[in-house]
Subunit: 144 residues, 2 copies
């Protein structure tokens, strides 16, 4: 039942992708994003707060305020978003939780697992918001 990414990370991705499809430096109220994506405003607000904290988003209070990408979408990797929300140590460590498993005494699955970890990591580190946003526009995918 559990997904690879938490709902928080998924919401962060979707919201950021939504902003990446808009003209840069356009502030969008969090409330609007929540409505577009069909998710809880309060929950999203908390997630986006974490992103602004990390300098991924910038925010602006008052009328016509909101949040916007702090940097060009092509400079933001998906991994950056996920780390900001869920922390960095997702899926590290021995697959079977063996205590001594490491480089010198690897568990039987160690090598295969390391390769797979790397390929999971690559999915998120090698892809930028801008790239994904463009493909979403091309394919006319909806975020909600």
């Amino acid at each position: 039942m559990s997904s690879l990414l938490s709902k928080s990370s998924i919401y962060a991705l979707r919201a950021s992708l939504y902003m990446a499809t808009l003209p840069p430096d356009e502030y969008v109220p969090v409330h609007d994003i929540a409505e577009k994506l069909g998710i809880s405003f309060h929950f999203l607000a908390k997630i986006l707060q974490a992103l602004t904290h990390r300098g991924i988003l910038k925010s602006f209070r008052g009328p016509h305020g909101g949040v916007a990408l702090a940097r060009p979408a092509d400079d933001v990797s998906l991994n950056e978003l996920i780390e900001a929300v869920d922390g960095q140590q997702r899926f590290e460590g021995c697959l079977m939780g063996l205590p001594g498993c490491g480089v010198e005494k690897p568990c039987p699955l160690h090598e295969q697992w390391e390769k797979t970890q790397a390929s999971i990591s690559a999915i998120f580190t090698c892809s930028t918001l801008g790239e994904q946003a463009r493909r979403i526009k091309e394919l006319d995918l909806r975020l909600h």
Copy 2:
């Protein structure tokens, strides 16, 4: 913080690996296994119940009773254990939770994610208890 496998699955793997290192058809009390692995007896009992239910283990009540592998260790894939404990639908579906993502309208990460899913799956389906148990003996790895 969350691992790829649940603790239940990990305990099922460790307990089964432990049994696979013993002579076949030797019944071991669940209490002994729990002690060896340093985990909760009750928790382990519930997990091993699921495995006996699936026909992976056989059990025997009364003095000198316990649980044992129902089949040769080389005939039991790791995947079978994990499915019995956690269910089969771990990590399926769109990585970003996009609603329309599928074969006809794949999300940008769809293809990469499918490959990674396959390699995760391969780790567990292509490996048997017997194979792992032998390597654990060779390398003198402890399960606790």
